[in-house]
Assembly symmetry: C2
Homo-oligomer: 213 residues x 2
């Protein structure tokens, strides 16, 4: 099948949204934890989270201002603090459910558990095994469609020893982290391989650092 830019306008809105949302590939899935100045906690699923740099350690988050995510954005701007919490299969339905337009905290509504550290104002998710605490650094408005790119610097991270390889790689399959597609599809994963650093004059080979991950 081929769709051109001229065809897009003729597609049903719902069909087009699903199609275009699925198109770029598998996505990370994180629950973003925030808290307002009035101490109202918020938890929302984001699949638009990505690595921006390792030194300094920076993460980007894309926010559509016209969606339920607006509480998240407002809290991040007010408090300059947010957390990212990986989603496991054990609570993916609760994670999905946090996208509903609740009047109360999504923690309360779904039974998921907030958890705090001294270093970060925003709540972590207790049920999550990989967690990242961030501080707001930059906000870019993407004029083309009103999307906002939030950039945070990593303040602290928590993850099980057993998923960290000797070379720093994190085995997300072992951690039980899941991935998603589009607006509503969830997937577990199965490792094919890690591959050695690519050089023009050398064949690549599977990479097996000590620790076996």
């Amino acid at each position: 099948m081929r769709y051109s830019i001229e065809d897009f306008a003729t597609l049903d809105n719902f069909f087009r949204r699903n199609l275009i949302n699925s198109l770029t590939g598998f996505k990370s899935l994180n629950l973003v934890g925030t808290k307002s100045k009035e101490n109202i906690t918020n938890l929302a699923p984001f699949s638009q989270v990505f690595h921006i740099g390792a030194s300094p350690a920076l993460v980007g988050l894309l926010v559509r201002p016209d969606t339920v995510e607006r509480h998240t954005l407002q809290n991040i701007i007010e408090t300059e603090s947010f957390t990212l919490n990986h989603v496991k299969e054990e609570f993916y339905k609760e994670a999905h459910q946090t996208s509903a337009r609740y009047q109360i905290s999504e923690f309360e509504a779904t039974g998921l558990t907030p958890e705090y550290t001294e270093k970060v104002f925003a709540p972590y998710l207790k049920e999550s095994v990989i967690k990242i605490g961030l501080k707001l650094e930059e906000k870019h408005n993407l004029a083309i469609n009103g999307t906002i790119l939030v950039i945070g610097s990593i303040q602290e991270i928590f993850l099980p020893d057993i998923v960290i390889s000797d070379d720093g790689f994190i085995d997300l399959q072992k951690a039980g982290t899941i991935t998603c597609v589009g607006l509503d599809a969830y997937y577990r994963t199965q490792k094919i391989a890690r591959l050695s650093y690519a050089k023009p004059d050398k064949p690549i080979s599977p990479l097996t650092p000590k620790g076996g991950i």
Copy 2:
């Protein structure tokens, strides 16, 4: 294990790069096809590609200017054209190998095949079953670390009929699209479920649109 921002500075550079790169979760994997004004083709793997909007249909691409990806960026700026091509397990080693610093075209070096359409200047990858042709719309410099955010509008897409659900959702597992973590790890996927639209007063349920995807 806990690492704080103070610990990051004490970590081995290579360890830190792997750790922080793996931390945000599973990522999309696309080979980006471009061509210079002098007709030299280029193919490079990108895991920092994401959905920005469905209407208009926009895709974002993060580029580090200090890496092998610089040819890609230069070609996109010169010609305003690029393609995204999903990676399948059948050619993931060749995809990885395109990250080597070749003096010649990565198509030639790896044996992958360029393919053209009337609408888009940049080459598609023939071996890929899901392909997106884009036009450069915006370029944002992220001052914080020199990363560049390229935004393209989708001009045309190609995908097999059989992976498109009745509601527009694309079954990427069926398409054989793989996902990746960090700098060098590749994964196949297995669907858990699609879930219905979340509402505060309604339990969620698995979603099964006609067409069975």
